[in-house]
């Protein structure tokens, strides 16, 4: 009995798995159904997947609640993945399984991996037809980050954030160091960090560090740009791109960045970082300055032990470059509820929607009107100096949007980390980063 039935069952299972596993690539030809949908969409809730700390989650919960109150016939299922790396993998698994959420938040450095395979619905035509939001309402820097070749705009950016310096005002006061000013230089930055790095109990180990910054390509990039270097160059002989970290201006900037730890010890070393990470040290008042984007604000607003504020990155010879941080609302082409999903994306990026998320502190709103409103600039809500983020916008530069950029960033980060903690010399890691990332460049 078994002999006869199992092969058939295996065949059936095989067929089913093949059908599920190898869903054919979605056609980009299909007509847009933004405003006039000829066929009714399947019933069911629109799912919306996000990442972030509990404080960030709260912001999106408020957004969903407001949307559902405004459109009682629409329901949103919020899917929350706390960690950003896990989020990336969840996205990949969901897309591969053919069941992505109807609306997903994706960083501009990552959407190209999905866009390249036709997995995202171009949103330009939707935006054109929208009566609620217009392209002109957004900061062009934010929209430009989500342009993808001939497909145009792929996602609607929620924010136009950047890397800034968060600082603990109480530690500056206690040490007698004046608060950092907007026009401070690399040298000012280093001397402040040095003054704030202290061994208070005299046990030979620093209890307080001046600075916390993760040794990643994304963090070091603005310093490379400020020093006149670049992250990626085009190899003109074969017209392919490659890492440009081995050029003197880039090398000099990276050496300066690494020296913050290796030479000046103003950043906790590898053992200290393993014992407690930089952000946690900042939250506990053990690191005086911490480099992060706007994303940290909802969590930092829970700090009660000390006062804090933000200041732009220090500059080198009046070059003020910072690095763009932006996430967009993207609509997977596999979503069966595109019209309903767009309705939510549209609302989330209307003045009303962006105001709600901006109030939590999570975003530097991509809508100009919201960015200059009290929702973002309210002097009663920390940080006092939120305008720093808006002043930085003209100086923002983007990291490349390549299909395999995540891997390039990961490998470069693994190599930089070795040099940052003094486990390898700079020349060695730059060479390794160049060689190891070659295969991921188009």
């Amino acid at each position: 009995m078994l002999k006869h039935s199992t092969p058939l069952l295996i065949k059936l299972l095989l067929i089913q798995i093949l059908l599920v596993g190898c869903t054919s690539p979605p056609s980009t030809e299909q007509p847009l159904t933004a405003t006039s949908s000829p066929t009714p969409e399947p019933a069911g809730n629109v799912s919306f997947m996000i990442f972030g700390d509990p404080a960030e989650l709260q912001a999106y919960q408020n957004l969903v609640k407001a949307f559902e109150a405004k459109y009682p016939d629409q329901k949103i299922d919020l899917i929350h993945i706390p960690d950003q790396a896990d989020y990336r993998q969840r996205l990949a698994a969901d897309f591969a399984a053919g069941t992505p959420a109807d609306v997903v938040l994706i960083n501009y450095r990552r959407f190209s991996a999905f866009a390249d395979k036709g997995a995202l619905e171009p949103l330009g035509p939707y935006l054109e037809k929208s009566t609620l939001i217009q392209a002109d309402d957004f900061y062009p820097e934010a929209l430009a980050a989500f342009q993808w070749g001939r497909h145009g705009l792929m996602c609607i950016p929620q924010n136009v954030s950047s890397l800034v310096v968060y600082y603990n005002k109480n530690l500056f006061q206690a040490t007698g160091v004046t608060y950092p000013q907007a026009e401070w230089t690399w040298d000012d930055f280093l001397s402040a960090a040095q003054a704030l790095t202290q061994d208070q109990d005299g046990d030979g180990r620093f209890d307080q560090h001046g600075l916390g910054v993760e040794p990643t390509l994304q963090r070091v990039a603005p310093f490379i740009w400020q020093n006149g270097g670049d992250v990626v160059r085009i190899e003109r002989s074969v017209w392919t791109r490659e890492l440009a970290l081995d050029e003197p201006p880039a090398l000099e900037a990276i050496q300066w960045f690494i020296d913050l730890q290796v030479k000046h010890h103003v950043v906790p070393n590898a053992v200290e970082a393993e014992a407690e990470n930089y952000e946690s040290r900042f939250l506990n008042g053990r690191v005086a300055m911490y480099l992060n984007s706007r994303r940290g604000v909802p969590t930092y607003r829970t700090i009660t032990k000390f006062d804090w504020d933000v200041v732009p990155l220090p500059h080198k010879r009046w070059r003020h470059s910072s690095v763009l941080h932006a996430d967009g609302y993207c609509l997977p082409s596999l979503s069966p509820r595109k019209a309903a999903a767009w309705k939510f994306i549209e609302y989330a990026n209307s003045v009303e929607g962006q105001t709600l998320v901006a109030l939590s502190g999570r975003t530097v709103p991509s809508l100009k009107a919201v960015a200059v409103s009290p929702a973002f600039l309210d002097p009663a809500a920390k940080p006092l100096n939120s305008r720093v983020f808006l002043d930085t916008i003209p100086n923002l530069r983007r990291l490349p949007r390549l299909v395999h950029w995540s891997e390039i960033e990961d490998i470069a980060g693994d190599e930089l980390e070795r040099a940052f903690y003094g486990q390898a010399n700079l020349a060695e890691v730059i060479k390794a980063a160049g060689l190891r990332t070659e295969e991921y460049f188009p």
Partner: protein, 301 residues
């Protein structure tokens, strides 16, 4: 509540048929969750497949790409290092504890439960506990070492101590092997042991010449199972505690497969790594068989 037609609708099954029927759900699960995916994996290993478009055949390219990646060689070495070191230690540990706690003694029940307990703690929680234990500055282990005047290793920061730390934590999750060997010891009949004692066997001779040979099938089974599991179970602790660092010192093949597939959209390469894991497991199991066969030949002499 007699059902008159019952007998007609349900003809009496022969014994093998009944067994087959009862096995059916299991076999279906085995087919659906093991054999079919394994077959697909085998095929995928020779294709380029990003999960979004259709896979296409690229022959051995996945393997040549892997062999050019320093992460692959690091992961291969790490996986073999971990398995070759952790499996014997775990098996010996389980055996020693089983021998020790086999005889009824005061508190044996408590100790048995205590030994089994770490095995039932969910892997993530277990990893987080050890992450705290191994914290280089605030962890109880290093605080203890420093107070004893001993050097305090940096554990997961230092490539030379990161893998040993993972092995150490794996040594406490031997509850299953312990229970199996305990059961194995119970099968050894009293008469055999008593007659050996009557013949004047010392305690050591008893263990070495009577108990161990009788326990051999159990030990072999346990070790083979542990080899296979060790190649897979390194995923959770490494993922949670080190992410594969420092500089790939705790990157294992299984994590590399996961990263290639789900971080890099290279499901073909992920499948290729899984195939290599299968090869490594097969290689280790075969060498283990050869080793134990020699042992059985020797003990027969």
């Amino acid at each position: 509540m007699a059902v008159p037609h019952g007998a007609k609708r349900w003809p009496a099954l022969t014994h093998p048929q009944a067994l087959g029927l009862m096995l059916l759900p299991y076999l279906l699960g085995l087919a659906g969750f093991i054999f079919v995916p394994a077959g697909l994996m085998l095929g995928l290993a020779f294709t380029q497949y990003d999960g979004l478009s259709l896979p296409h055949w690229i022959g051995l390219q996945n393997f040549t790409l892997l062999f050019a990646d320093l992460r692959f060689w690091a992961a291969l070495k790490n996986s073999i290092f971990f398995t070759v070191l952790a499996v014997p230690l775990r098996s010996l540990g389980a055996l020693a504890l089983a021998l020790f706690l086999n005889q009824p003694r005061r508190g044996a029940g408590f100790y048995r439960a205590a030994i089994y307990l770490p095995t039932v703690i969910p892997d993530i929680a277990y990893a987080l506990i050890w992450l705290w234990v191994f914290n280089p500055l605030y962890g109880p282990l290093n605080v203890l070492l420093i107070n004893l005047g001993l050097p305090a290793p940096a554990w997961f920061v230092d490539p030379s101590t990161a893998k040993p730390a993972l092995i150490v934590m794996s040594l406490f999750q031997i509850g299953e092997g312990f229970v199996i060997l305990l059961a194995g010891l119970q099968t050894i009949s009293r008469e055999v042991l008593e007659s050996a004692i009557v013949d004047g066997a010392t305690r050591r001779q008893l263990v070495w010449h009577v108990i161990l040979p009788l326990l051999r099938p159990w030990l072999v089974l346990l070790t083979i199972r542990d080899v296979i599991l060790s190649l897979q179970n390194t995923f959770t602790p490494a993922w949670v505690m080190t992410g594969g660092g420092p500089y790939y010192a705790t990157l294992f093949l299984i994590q590399l497969a996961y990263e290639e597939a789900f971080d890099g959209f290279r499901f073909g390469q992920g499948a290729a790594i899984l195939l290599i894991i299968l090869g490594v497991a097969a290689g280790l199991v075969v060498s283990l068989r050869l080793l134990t066969q020699r042992w059985s030949n020797q003990s027969d002499e």
